[in-house]
Symmetry: C2
Subunit: 230 residues, 2 copies
């Protein structure tokens, strides 16, 4: 059908024609966390109209970004192709940029597990990361972030039920951090860990307070790189 073209022979233009439609990048953001079913995507993107979701998935498949994989038991998942996974640096850069000017959330803004997972990946500072296990709660999203040998991995925890026999990562976390959206101010360095606790932005409900320092060093986004030439 030859999508509405920008009429230019250029990499940026080509990219924007493939992934520039409304909602597309957010679908990709969630798929960067892992393969997802249609319903998972719908839940992770609460405001997306279902017809748009299915249209985007079709377009992204046609563009070679997303693949549709039937599950052996039943059902199916969508996953990124290698080409789609190559968008990770783009999403990370975009997230880093957006993180800087995010103000406070609107009353009806939500934090989803996938968006928080990608935010942690965005903020992850390999060089400053000491081995540790953090459990992070924001709203009703619960994550387990493991740093091992400079590698970050994030697992999503089911919030309501206590871990009956579920696949909770082995071992106790070094710290359990319960935060509100104001945790953003810690990540960008607007406030120190001490101030964060003082101002009730977050609480360390288990583990030593010192781990919050390493958390803040591990997950950090510079406020705005001073331009070399202004």
């Amino acid at each position: 059908m030859a999508a509405r073209s920008y009429g230019q022979y250029c990499g940026v233009t080509t990219a924007v024609e493939l992934i520039g439609e409304r909602w597309a990048l957010l679908i990709i953001r969630d798929l960067l966390v892992g393969p997802r079913r249609y319903t998972d995507l719908k839940q992770g993107l609460p405001r997306i109209p279902t017809n748009i979701l299915s249209t985007r998935l079709k377009e992204l498949q046609q563009g070679g970004v997303v693949r549709r994989v039937p599950l052996h038991n039943c059902g199916l998942v969508y996953e990124l192709t290698p080409y789609g996974r190559a968008l990770e640096p783009v999403i990370l850069e975009l997230g880093r940029w957006g993180f800087q000017t995010m103000g406070d959330p609107s009353p009806d803004d939500v934090v989803t597990a996938d968006s928080l997972t990608m935010a942690l990946r965005t903020a992850f500072q390999t060089d400053a990361a000491a081995d540790a296990e953090y459990e992070l709660h924001v709203g009703d999203v619960a994550l387990r972030a493991s740093v091992r040998g400079g590698i970050l991995s994030v697992a999503q925890l089911a919030p309501p039920a206590p871990p009956v026999g579920g696949r909770v990562p082995a071992g106790e976390p070094d710290a359990v951090i319960v935060a509100g959206p104001g945790i953003r101010r810690l990540i960008v360095g607007e406030i120190t860990p001490a101030e964060a606790i003082e101002q009730d932005v977050l609480a360390v409900v288990r583990g030593e307070l010192a781990h919050l320092e390493s958390f803040a060093a591990t997950f950090h986004i510079a406020p705005l790189a001073a331009p070399l030439t202004v």
Copy 2:
């Protein structure tokens, strides 16, 4: 007015709300080359409706990405704020990604001076770059790319008139390369410099052929980083 919100508190979402509308990223791409007047932007984006251009510029100003600067003589230009300039890594990553799957151009696709300038910046490999001056022609766009001490700077040459007294960068270029859109295949390594000449993808009309080798080493985009885990 509270732009149509995605309803999430997330960096990617925030970014996409600011710069995700149609044409916005292309306006930013062109402004990354330098300040531009309304008319310049319209020429560099031949298919943009004028109302969309003015709407986007207003939105980008309100978002703190673009600034409107009156010129002392008369007229005015739009330029990126420091915050807007911080989008350069995003555009570069996006351009790199898009460059990989760009097929051949549609018959009515154009190559603009600003898009080619940004494409060179995208492909620039600091580590492999030897000092040199290249003059590059693609379609009727003519550029002078100077590499000095690992720093790339690109100047746009006015194509039709011979340099009467214009501000042509001092000195002769080491090589003058006249290419078609197939130069993309050289940049992504689909063909070697020798093959490029053989297949009439481009011609070195002045300077030694050897400079084409260093050109290809200086401007290169890897076909697709092999994913660590497939």
